[in-house]
């Protein structure tokens, strides 16, 4: 087998299909609970595999009918039929993966819908929708001698879409480093009596989302109480930690959250100053980072001076 034949062989295409399926598995099943920044390298690997498979199949899935002979057109149309059924199968596997993941998980924290239907799930679904016809063609296409010897096999136009990989990486790094950060601030209605009758409490949840869903989320989650003398963060009741300082599963799959620090101080007037600081670090280049700060200042009578 020559070098050219090796590249065109159906075995190598099927091997690439299996690797693609294995990488897709990281997105389809929410285990491990957090990819801790590996999501983007895996996405780029998936895109690279898709482009290589596309090039090796001559982009048959996207070819115009007029440019195909009868055999190629029949193979392409058949691949689309199988791909259509595989989408349904793939989505069902993803649903079962989510269920199995929640059963197999030993962390004690139940998997929430947001963990399952987050950025990982979206990439898994998009891969099914965008790449399946090409993947099926790569699996079905016989390795023909004519095609192996075809000069178009190595033509630059066939491999040009590879540029999508560095383009996506660059776009994503820009989104992490420079594009605006999404912010949200939600205050639950204040309620009485976590510890005593003369105190009032409210729950404050603020987020900073870097990377438009495909990065990391830094969260301020504080149960604040005030009693006229001072305001403070109430930490634990019998059911749960009401004030949390952690990276939630599924919120940092595509970028890492480092140096997460939550500090609470109370000044002489009894005003609470709560601050969350973190550095969001790209999973591709550790030098591409974004510092994020969230603040909550509440006076002793419950007046919110700053939030978000």
């Amino acid at each position: 087998m020559t070098h050219a034949n090796w590249l065109q062989g159906s075995d190598i295409r099927r091997a690439l299909v299996i690797v693609t399926g294995a990488v897709w598995g990281f997105f389809a099943v929410p285990l491990p609970r957090s990819l801790d920044g590996a999501g983007m390298p895996l996405t780029l690997a998936l895109l690279l595999l898709d482009v290589v498979l596309g090039a090796l199949t001559g982009w048959l899935a996207f070819a115009r009918t007029a440019s195909l002979d009868e055999r190629q057109a029949a193979l392409r149309d058949r691949a689309y039929r199988l791909a259509f059924r595989l989408i349904l199968l793939g989505v069902i596997v993803m649903v079962l993966g989510a269920i199995a993941g929640s059963i197999a998980d030993n962390s004690g924290t139940p998997i929430q819908p947001a963990d399952v239907f987050g950025s990982r799930w979206i990439i898994g679904l998009l891969e099914l929708l965008a790449a399946l016809p090409t993947v099926v063609i790569a699996w079905l296409q016989p390795g023909s001698v004519e095609e192996a010897e075809s000069p178009s096999r190595l033509s630059p136009s066939r491999w040009l879409p590879l540029i999508a990989v560095p383009l996506l990486a660059a776009l994503w790094l820009v989104a992490i480093a420079a594009l605006p950060v999404e912010a949200s601030a939600v205050r639950d209605d204040a309620k009485h009596g976590l510890l005593s009758a003369n105190e009032t409490c409210g729950h404050f949840t603020g987020t900073r989302d870097v990377g438009y869903g495909f990065g990391a989320e830094v969260r301020l989650d504080v149960e604040t109480c005030w009693d006229g003398n001072r305001a403070y963060a109430f930490r634990k009741d019998i059911y749960a930690d009401l004030t949390r300082c952690s990276v939630e599963p599924g919120t940092a799959d595509f970028a890492r959250v480092r140096k997460l620090a939550c500090t609470e101080t109370t000044d002489a007037d009894g005003t609470m100053h709560y601050q969350v600081q973190a550095t969001v670090q790209s999973g591709l280049l550790s030098t591409v980072t974004r510092n994020v700060v969230l603040e909550l200042d509440v006076t002793r009578d419950g007046t919110v001076l700053s939030f978000g």
Partner: protein, 359 residues
């Protein structure tokens, strides 16, 4: 053209998918068997109906052999799918979707008849022309479905936190998710019905012999469609069945307390159970609530294919010390939302602890 899937016909994509669907539905049915008794039975009946219908060979007949009629049917299904995707689940997850689903189910039965179900038929049951046609239909359907689904998912996920939250809720069960799965299953058949030319009709067209199974399939489809409508009508016609009791309850020192329990069952099969469970006490002069007579207590116990709205939930004590509590709920059919019925639960306890009215 040979491939692994052809060589091992016992393991096909359809069979693996069917096995996984049966696994999921089986778990779901088992877990909900006792909670949603009638809905579970109805869904089992639907599944059996689908299996029976699919086992009967079909011909389009005079009407569905016409391309214009088939295109009209496809347009109607497309419109229904859009309505389903845009519909919002109401309280108790039943906000008008069932009616659209029923109409779509009927449309899919006709669609199967119009296309002779060749879109999903096993390879051995289709000839070369049909194979080429259905493959082409799948390619065109993929060209519609994939960009549409991927575009919606990607744009809503990236656009912002609010749209992302909508997407997460849509994935957890809504008309949008249902539309996604329905299109995954039926869009190729819709494209096929759109593409196919007029067929032969009359004496030259092949005829299928009438069979008992065909009659059974028609009867089951009719029953599947009529049942929700009939049970929705029953919601307003069948008398409300109420069971109730009250008994003395241990109360605070010196107080005379009574435990009240009532259940009003509305409808047959598809309906709701409106409960009242509370303790009220009297100190000899004034009656008061101990528990169970608050706004948070005014909610239905069980609903099936209905929505229940609280119209009134009031508790007052008059000058004579008599306690009045009224819970009025409006039970509305999810299939035919213009059919509704009010259920009123009343508790009146005199200041001396005497039960004046219940329920």
């Amino acid at each position: 053209m040979t491939n692994m899937i052809d060589r091992i016909p016992t393991v096909t994509i359809q069979r693996v998918t069917a096995a996984l669907v049966i696994l999921i539905v089986g778990f779901w049915l088992l877990s909900g068997l006792f909670l949603f008794a009638f809905t579970t039975l109805y869904l089992v009946f639907i599944v059996v109906t689908i299996l029976v219908v699919r086992s009967v060979p079909v011909q389009p007949g005079q009407w569905l052999a016409r391309r214009a009629v088939r295109r009209g049917l496809v347009s109607a299904i497309a419109l229904g799918s859009i309505l389903l995707a845009l519909s919002h689940a109401g309280p108790n997850d039943a906000g008008g979707e069932p009616f659209i689903l029923m109409a779509l189910a009927l449309g899919f039965v006709f669609l199967g008849r119009a296309t002779q179900r060749i879109a999903s038929a096993p390879d051995r049951q289709v000839d070369e022309r049909q194979e080429a046609l259905r493959n082409r239909a799948h390619r065109l359907a993929y060209g519609i479905f994939a960009p549409l689904a991927a575009g919606i998912v990607l744009v809503t996920y990236v656009a912002g936190a609010a749209s992302r939250a909508w997407l997460a809720s849509a994935f957890q069960g809504s008309g949008t998710l249902l539309t996604f799965f329905l299109l995954l299953v039926f869009l190729p058949a819709m494209v096929l019905a759109w593409l196919e030319p007029d067929r032969l009709v009359g004496t030259d067209s092949p005829q299928l012999a009438a069979s008992r199974r065909a009659s059974l399939a028609i009867t089951m489809v009719a029953l599947a469609l009529v049942t929700p409508i009939a049970l929705s009508v029953a919601l307003v016609l069948v008398p409300i069945r109420t069971t109730s009791f009250f008994r003395p309850e241990q109360g605070q020192t010196g107080a005379k307390c009574t435990y009240f329990d009532a259940r009003a069952q509305v409808g047959l099969g598809f309906g709701a159970v409106v409960p009242l469970s509370a303790v009220a006490c009297s100190d000899g002069r004034t009656a008061s609530e101990d528990w169970g007579l608050n706004n948070s207590d005014c909610h239905p116990n069980r609903t099936e294919m209905t929505t229940v709205d609280t119209v009134e939930c009031t508790r007052t004590t008059d000058a004579s010390g008599t306690l009045h509590f009224t819970y009025r709920a409006r039970v509305r059919s999810a299939v035919l939302p213009f059919l509704a019925r009010d259920v009123v639960m009343t508790l009146v306890m005199a200041g001396d602890g005497h039960v004046v009215r219940f329920p």
